[in-house]
Structures are given as structure tokens and as C-alpha cells.
Point group: C2
Chain length 192, copies 2
Amino acid sequence: MEDSTTAFLAAGDPLMQRTLIEGLPSARATMVDTIKFYIDGMPGELRETMGAADFVTVNESEAREIAGTPSIAKAARALLAGGPKGVIVKLGEYGAAFASAEDYFVAPGYPLEDVVDPTGAGDAFAGGFLGYLDSVDVVTPGAIRRAIIYGSTVASFDVEGFGPSRLLTLTRAEVEARYQEFRRLTHFEAGE
Amino acid sequence: MEDSTTAFLAAGDPLMQRTLIEGLPSARATMVDTIKFYIDGMPGELRETMGAADFVTVNESEAREIAGTPSIAKAARALLAGGPKGVIVKLGEYGAAFASAEDYFVAPGYPLEDVVDPTGAGDAFAGGFLGYLDSVDVVTPGAIRRAIIYGSTVASFDVEGFGPSRLLTLTRAEVEARYQEFRRLTHFEAGE
């Protein structure tokens, strides 16, 4: 644990999350998730924990509630002002938005034809995101964008099966192929 | 009217829409929009009109209702099977999805901080989309992707003001700048 370069603090007591982050001073990327229970019940502690993390990940309704605004962009920037290096707002089937001091990135959702079970999609996203950041030499804005697409890719596989079943058979080649498919689905040429 | 290379048939009686399409045999792009009133009341006529159009544009709930599926990708492909060359599913603040025989494209929404009035966003999209297609030499899949971003760009300006007020002062340079911003917001490098 002490040797990890990345750590995901899944939703839990924000004080406990902060203690864990403080125990990993050399981690290149810590990420904090949360749930409404802590947003409502421990807003001050949560704010402090988010400020101590490298990345904060929340879903759309949580972002709006914490920041008190209907605009996803405004909510992401408000959360960013609290201290983390980057904020990821998960938009479910619509993808994700990312804000940092240097960057703003919007990733659409992968166009799945059949969603079997959305359970665990957020944790799968975190795994793909941090796993990619763990593999790069330097965490640049470009690397973070790629990490978001890897996270979205792993999450898109997760929801294709019940629980984590699809992830148990997932291969690196399948992940790479869908990452490239994400690029083909989203890129367009310069205008005129 | 007979000399137009593009035509937008805003939501209306599908029989009337079809008569107008048939009166423009040399148009390079006709686009049909509709509303729940016609989806529920004239489904057969609407299906025939959509099949006669080059492009069909519907919002997410309309797509799901017409196609009878919760999957946006599946709904877009089901509408495509009815005969149009391309189907655009408008996702509001989350962007748009596009399906044709050759392509599938997902465009995220432009991250606006303040939405003043969403009235007319769909019509603004149609104007930007068809206006761009009118300007190109050949309607290729790449041109359609660019047209979707131009449509999304014009729609994003529209919702920044009441009614069409923002569009009345909109300049070509502003449109081009936001189109490029859309690219910066969405593109990412190949993985590894």
C-alpha cells in the first residue's frame, strides 16, 4: 500500500479518506469518491478531504448539490477551487467532464446497445483511470485525458455484464480496441 | 425555395413535410424534425416522411419512443433502418449522437456556465448543420461530423440569450472560434 503510485478512496468517511491520503505522500495520483450521505452529513470534512486529493470524482447530481449550481462546468470549477488538482464529473451514459487549472475536457459516453447492470461503473472508471496514470512516466494534461477515456472504456465494459462479471474476462486487447473506437467515434476535422 | 440545396422541415404535419421534400428533388440535404404530437398521432405518415428525408433529427425521448428502446445507439439505428441517410439524436446539454450507414459519431455538449433560455436550440442546431452542408462541395461523412459540430456551436450560442437574441449579434468569427474550442475540448491522443 505504501508503495502504490495511485490510490482510489472509494466513497466512505471523509476523515478516514483523508488519513489514508496523508499516509501516501509520494503517490502520484489519489482520487476521492463520495456519496450523498457524506455530502449532506459531513460537508466540512468532505471539503477538506477533497482539497487534499489529487482528483475528485462525483456524479452529476452530487456535483450540482455540492456546488449549488445546475451548470456542470460551473460545478466542476467550483469543486476545483476547493483544492484538488482535477475534478471528474461522471455523467453516466452521457460520459464525463473534467476540469483542472490547465484543462477542460468533455468525453461522451460509449454508445452501448445493451446496458445489463450499471453497478460498479464508477469503481471501474476509477480503476481504468488510475491504472493508466500508474503506467505513464509523467501525469500531463494529455495523459489525464487519455486516462479518462481508459476509465470510460473499462466502465463501458463493466455495465455490459452483471456485477463485475464482464471485467473478469476482459483482455488488454479489448480495452485498447475500444479506446481506439472511442477516438473514431469522437474526433472531427478542423472547420474552415 | 426550389433552388435551395438544403431544407429544414421543422416539426409539422408529416404529410406536408413529405410534400415539401418531394418538391425539392435536387436538394443535397433535407432534414425533418417532429414532436410527440405527430409521433403519437400519425406514426405511419411520420415513418414514411422520415424515410424520404436525408436527415432526421429527434430528441432523446422522442427517439426512444419511436424506436421503443432505452438505448440511444439502438434507437438511432432503428430510425436509420426506416430509410433516411442519417439520424441525429439531440441530447440537450449532453450533445448529440449521429448514425448513418457509414458512420456513428458522438458529440458532447458545449460546457456552458449559464443557460439563459433553451428555446430554439433545436432550430439553431438545424441552421448551423444545414448551413455548413450547404457550404461544402460534397456531403461526406467527415463533412456531416463537422456540420454536427457547427450545429452544436450555433445551438450553444442560442441558449445563451432569450429567444434568438444572441444569434442576432453572432459573428462568423465567434462561430469559428467556438468550433475550434469544441475540438480542443474533445480530442485526445492515441493510447498505447
